[in-house]
Amino acid sequence: MLDSGFQVLTAIIFLPIVACVCLFFIERPSTVRVFTLIVSIIELILMKPLLNFQFNTTEFQFVERVAWMPRWGLEYYLGVDGISILMVWLTVAVLPLCVLCSWTYIEKRVKEFHFCLLFMTSACLGVFCALDFTLFYVFWEAMLVPMYLLIAVWGGPNRSYASIKFILYTLAGSTVLLVALIAFRIVGGTFSIPELMTKSFSFRFQFWTFLAMTLAFAIKVPMFPFHTWLPAAHVEAPTAGSVVLASILLKMGTYGFLRFCLPLTPVASEYFAPMMIAISIASIIYGGAVALGQDDMKKIIAYSSVGHMGFVTLGIFLFNQRGVEGALFQMLNHGITTGALFMMVGTIYERSHSRQVLDNLGIAKYMPAYIGFFGLFAFSSFGFPATNSFVGELLVLVGAFQANLWIGAAIIPGVLLAATYMLRLAQKLSWGEPSSFKQGWKDLNFREWVYLFIPAVFVLYIGLAPGLFFKTMDTSIAGLISDFKAKTSAYAIETQKAKSSLAVAGIEDPLDELKN
């Protein structure tokens, strides 16, 4: 394990919280904005030691481990591997963009807004870095309240409904996660995730804990039957809220699958994989089909998120190298592209005060730069070659075809749907009959250029040269997959043995117990 001496993870997690406290002493809204922006840039600078990340090991790196409550086995235990480090980078990179895109959008209660934003960042970073199950849960829950407030205070007209729906859904999911956590503690004897990964649990135990964790993660992702909170939340949330929600929050669910379900409950994951794959395909098709019928730009992007996240969960539950790589790429790409699309909607909303497609027709004439960016992100969204999403979707497709021809075939319509709804939106925005008087409109200003240019760079960079990212994630994913395969095949051999001995004794399959 690598020890850099400087506790970089603690530093990046707690800097935003310290900044939150400092916010109390700042009065002027403009100072608050500048202060938060500076903090977010310092945060990026603090990340510098993370550049020393070792690519060729599956070990957790930058580990910090301090006893928190020895008597209960709680630890303050942080670390990153190839799976989580990309999410950490994404989270830190999104913060300054959120500050920039809310610069004029947020007019009331500016201080509280930035408080929530900083607190969210801390909690999200904590989720991705935590290696202690309880610590993970603490951060996982801690981000509920600021996200709730982001929607409930600065949201649109229907914000109270959307925010309550968001918090009740996610909290309902995570309470079951708490039970799973406790069960792991008692049965596995520790809260430490790396140690739990080395243990193997009985199928019955895996069965129930997998279901409990999956409920929590599936709501967060959100997967098909649990997705209804997402469009509501996205539509009502302010731009920065939508960006955080799309770029980071949704990733927490899929990250949970990778970090907990696959390593801790491998046999149950394999057992439930057909169900998870079916739900993922349903999410892809359903999300795309519904997005096609929306008039609200944010709703289109929100439903497209459901579809994109379907690709991620599909990739994860294919259990092959390409599939999981694709899932991780897709997590990153969705964070960049969808985040950028939400910022684009925010930009246009500040001018037209409407998110309806029909109110914003034909703006290419007035805002060529805007449409240029929009086109890029829209193309990226449906996985056009040379953009980032192409890499992710292609990998998932390859993985799907590797696993089973029919799974691959089933998601092709989803890919087509994505192109359809995104092109429909882009076409209307750029070449529709201009729907309202837009004489006074200005094209993008410098600030808007900045926050759209940064994701645009990454769209093309990942699309054209994804090598660095492959290098980062490959070893960890290979480790994850081989560990998974080893565990499931060990279990298969065991049950085979048990079955043959049971058959001799004339006792029924132990699985039957569960089917009752």
Binding site: R71, A142, I182
Partner: protein
């Protein structure tokens, strides 16, 4: 019997406070004694005094009164809670000036009864201590100027209380008749299964009812919302917090006599399940903040019992930790309620509208208190719940734990509605101005909120103390 004064120093001090207040109350009313000025200081001095005897151990008064870490842990909690409750009650708008010394005398007397309760290890002593804590409350509740609801609440509390006391006494007679002793030490050696001694099981169940009443556990919860609503905000603060400490202390002592699998444990588990579910569901429909908190008490009584049914040292420690956390969280919420209701009225949820702009500090304190009651990290409420559920897992009541977790999600809605009104609704015209000086309300409200957060971030010191305390009865 070796009698050492320092063993019962907290009780002696509390008795002196009561007597002092008694003297004040019989002095001519017209003299300005400024009770509210100095009583918080006296209450504050009580806190370090409970720490003096924290490591002592001893049996007093024919072994009916036991000083051990468990009792001292609860006495410390009572002293902390008493200080906060007194501080809260000093600015009581609905308390007539002439009645101030009476009010605080009864308050102190009730706290004294709770301290006795923490140490009582003999059933009749327990009974007497419980009555002492209750009788003072019977007279406190109607003390709300010109309020008919208060009288109604007072009568309700007395009638229900008297009935439950009678039941408890009746149960006591069964226990004595079948087990021939009233000392918990000896009772612990007796059989408590239905098959061997049915009479004792009935007796103990009925006796426990007395404490279920204090704890507002289903089916003895009727009084809680009504009494909270009827009594003044400050009295409700006390009633909803400190008596729980005494009740849990005794429940820990009594359930520690039982063996896993005893029928009474199953009864406790079922009552816990009904209590938390019913409390949370009923709270959803409330509009009055105090009624919401009243039903939340019912739900929390259920949570605490989760730790008890485990019948392990960890479980008892978790219950002790949780009840202390609960007292602090509830004090935090009530602190804001009392400060916002500057004229002593009952608060509707609408009265909290726009609190974020009127009193941003209080709004934050309320948010911390409410989210702690839900059990969200990083507050003490989360840690307490984590300890409770972890301790109880794999002791035969896993369904109860899942139910408790599901209940957390239900309870989110009504606690959140307080925060919604405070943070997202705009101020209405009828909104109350905040009259109390912000420094006083901010500093102490902030202190309460910080203590709730501290229990969540660094729970180790308090929890280790609770563990040691539980170790005295269950090694």
């Amino acid at each position: 019997m070796d009698f050492r004064t320092e063993l019962i120093l907290p009780e002696i001090y509390q008795t002196i406070v009561v007597l002092l207040l008694f003297i004040c109350s019989i002095i001519d009313n017209k003299r300005n004694l400024a009770v509210t000025r100095w009583i918080p200081w006296l209450a504050f001095i009580g806190i370090p005094l409970t720490l003096v005897s924290i490591d002592c151990e001893g049996d007093l008064f024919l072994n009916a009164y036991r000083i051990d870490l468990l009792s001292q842990f609860f006495k410390f909690s009572v002293a902390v809670g008493f200080f906060a409750a007194v501080l809260n009650a000093t600015r009581q708008p609905t308390l007539e000036h002439g009645r101030q010394s009476d009010y605080f005398m009864f308050l102190a007397l009730s706290a004294l009864g709770l301290m006795f309760l923490a140490s009582a290890v003999e059933l009749i002593t327990i009974y007497l201590a419980m009555e002492m804590a209750s009788y003072s409350l019977y007279s406190l509740i109607p003390l709300r100027a010109q309020e008919r609801q208060a009288a109604e609440a007072g009568i309700k509390y007395i009638l229900f209380g008297a009935a439950v006391t009678a039941i408890a006494l009746y149960g006591l007679s069964y226990i004595v008749a079948s087990q021939h002793t009233t000392y918990i030490k000896d009772l612990a050696l007796c059989e408590w299964s239905w098959a061997k001694s049915p009479m004792a099981v009935i007796g103990l169940t009925l006796f426990l009812a007395g404490f279920f009443y204090k704890l507002a556990l289903f089916p003895f919860h009727f009084w809680a919302p009504d009494v909270y609503q009827g009594s003044s905000n400050e009295t409700a603060t006390y009633v909803s917090t400190l008596p729980k400490l005494g009740a849990v202390a005794i429940l820990i002592r009594l359930t520690s006599m039982l063996k896993p699998g005893a029928e009474i444990v199953s009864i406790l588990a079922v009552l816990a399940a009904i209590s938390m579910t019913y409390g949370n569901l009923a709270a959803l429909a409330q509009r009055d903040v105090k009624r919401i908190l009243g039903y939340s008490t019912v739900a929390h009584a259920g949570y605490v019992l989760v730790g008890l049914v485990a019948l392990t040292r960890e479980g008892f420690a978790a219950a002790g930790f949780y009840v202390l956390t609960y007292v602090l969280m509830n004090l935090t919420c009530f602190w804001v309620v009392c400060r916002v209701a500057a004229d002593g009225r009952n608060l509707d949820l609408e009265d909290l509208n726009g609190l974020h702009s009127r009193a941003p500090g209080l709004a934050l304190v309320l948010a911390v208190g409410a989210f702690a009651l839900v059990g969200l990290p990083p507050t003490g409420g989360f840690m307490g719940k984590l300890f409770l559920l972890t301790a109880a897992w794999d002791h035969g009541y896993n369904w109860l734990i899942i139910l408790a977790a599901v209940n957390t999600a239900i309870s989110m809605y009504y606690y959140l509605s307080m925060v919604i009104h405070a943070y997202t609704k705009d101020q209405t015209e009828a909104a109350l101005p905040i009259q109390n000086e912000p420094k006083f309300s901010l500093v102490w409200g902030g202190a309460l909120a910080v203590s709730v957060l501290a229990l969540g971030v660094i729970p180790a010191p308090v929890f280790n103390m609770a563990m040691k305390a539980a170790g005295t009865i269950m090694p």
